[in-house]
Symmetry: D2
Subunit: 208 residues, 4 copies
């Protein structure tokens, strides 16, 4: 039986007026072929909503694997995240807060949650597979302290508490060329290559 994979992207936020994860999701939906049953969803960039919306969809879809995608301005490679941590902090992000104006400062995501939770997808295999396909990739040891980390941590915790047999991961992708036209010192990656990358991740996961 085909594995069910739920892939999430994010809506635009702050300076990111076009979020490439929406484009990846759209193209996957159109062109995806293969060994898995693909489900997708776009999440709000809001601390206290992002994970809930995804968890609702998890409950509905009952996937084998959940992969969340987020964009990381300044990164040049596709970076599977190793860990989600129990913190919400917009200070380091220099951000004006999330899309509802929430601007936490060293705030716990879950009062009694563990400090960190490892992603449960095979990040090393994925990274190696991406490189084998000619796509720059590297394991990341920090998903930051913004919405991306929040989503990863919360979903990992949900799966752990409810003892679900769902594997959970988060993958940061670079900006697309169109996003850095006025910041030409920042790296970017073509949307086509990002889509190929995420398709490669899905293929890799379908076999594990």
């Amino acid at each position: 039986m085909k594995k069910k994979i739920l892939v999430s992207g994010f809506e635009p936020f702050g300076d990111v007026t076009i979020n490439p994860t929406m484009g990846i999701i759209e193209k996957l939906n159109r062109s995806h072929q293969g060994n898995v049953e693909l489900h997708t969803i776009i999440l709000p960039v809001v601390y206290n909503e992002c994970a809930n919306v995804l968890i609702e969809e998890i409950n509905k879809v009952q996937p084998d694997i959940v992969i969340s995608l987020g964009v990381a301005m300044g990164r040049s490679a596709i970076t599977p995240e190793r860990i989600g941590i129990n913190i919400q902090d917009t200070v380091g992000e220099g951000a004006s807060g999330d899309n509802h104006g929430d601007r936490p400062f060293d705030r716990l995501i879950e009062e009694d949650g563990p400090d960190g939770l490892f992603s449960t997808i095979p990040i090393r295999d994925i990274t190696n597979e991406l490189k084998k396909h000619g796509i720059p990739a590297q394991i990341s040891n920090s998903a930051g302290t913004y919405i991306c980390n929040n989503t990863l941590y919360s979903v990992l915790l949900h799966v752990q508490i409810n003892q679900l047999s769902i594997r959970v991961g988060f993958i940061h992708v670079p900006a697309t060329p169109g996003m850095v036209l006025n910041k030409p010192h920042l790296p970017s990656m073509d949307l086509e290559l990002q889509v190929k990358g995420i398709q490669t991740v899905i293929d890799c996961l379908s076999e594990k």
Copy 2:
């Protein structure tokens, strides 16, 4: 009458075992359509040969415009160069020298040449046109002190001394994704986008 444009690339050198400028030239030769008569050549990465080979081709082809392409590891955008300077220096490049092992150290290219010579293509128009087409671009104020700068300076000087009505420019392109698989912190740009970029440059020049 169609303008004649001569575009040069470089052979591999040092760690750059596949030089994307060769790929760009190959694809331009295959797919180029349009308003210009395109000529191309691949240059040796050798201080005392690079410019001579190009100048011979210039004498043969008699182009209206000469554009040399080079790869700049670590750059994230297509960068038209503003100036070539009268120096050969591999110190700053940390390099093992050129492909013949020549490793100059603050050596003049031309004993009595001017210190610097501005590129004679419209670098601002080109940069704007690239950005208009969604391609990260930025004017660069230094082509370095390696073979790329040497080629630009020598050809500009040749044209100046011989009072030829040829416009001369140099454009650095980023690494391709395949070149940074083991250096995932370095930026890259898809070869397709680089080709689109250079095609855009050619289109821009054909109209000026």
Copy 3:
């Protein structure tokens, strides 16, 4: 009564032939004045020894606070670490392994340990205090996966398991100017300023 603070540094490793944390410790020992009883130790850069040596010293000294110092080439500010994670991995470090040639690859530090453990010193207060004293500082969300992270995680776990009332932190410092003479694109910070920074951290902790 004065608080007891145990500060650790590291011996040289790899390209780091002079470890500035040794210099900081030496200068603190010589010039430290003030409100705390200062103890210091230099740790081996060896995965399966670093934490044990520090824990032995903790047992002997019975400190109120343990601060480990490590150098992070490429960082420009003093960076208190937020979290230690349960992993040993030299892949991302591009390193030849630790000083005994151990080169782990996604290896757990503690088979049944939690995935991550937050530092228990007030990293935000420390960072603010450093900046108030004119010293560039920033909370870091990843201590890497090398000896530094290993030390932080293992000591945090030791303190947690044994329910000790000891606060534990890790602070990365930049390279010193002498370390980047042949890598002039890398940032550095004067040893004097680093010492002032760590003294500021100690003063901050003595009051909390």
Copy 4:
């Protein structure tokens, strides 16, 4: 007879509310000892004034050597400049223009001036001497297109046109730690080390 050296700094501009070159000049004036007759001046950050003010001072002082200092946010080493180029351009600087609001766009400094002029101080010797004294240093091949480059180019041209036997150079220094408190990813260098660096440059020049 002692050589006369004229050293210039710049007033604050844009985000640079405290210009470290003023601090360097102040400390040199107070503590400078040695083999040269030192003269100093602070220049306005205004395209059409910076060089004139310095040239007036040159006419008055009749120095053997003129060294201008400028700050380069983002650089980690002391960088003697190789060349000044005949252009004023604030686009790449992302700046709001000079201190009089002048915001040129690919404008020539001197209508009929040469495209570039090499610095006439021994930049390689200076760089080596700085490194020998433990100070990160590197030759820079671009002084940008802002006031710093303008000053270097204009003074070099003045000296050339008037056939003066004055050597002219420009040295960029990093930000100081206090300037990057809210930009902790940017490198900095202690003012004391910068002063030691410029004193080392002066000593080096006094012997050549």
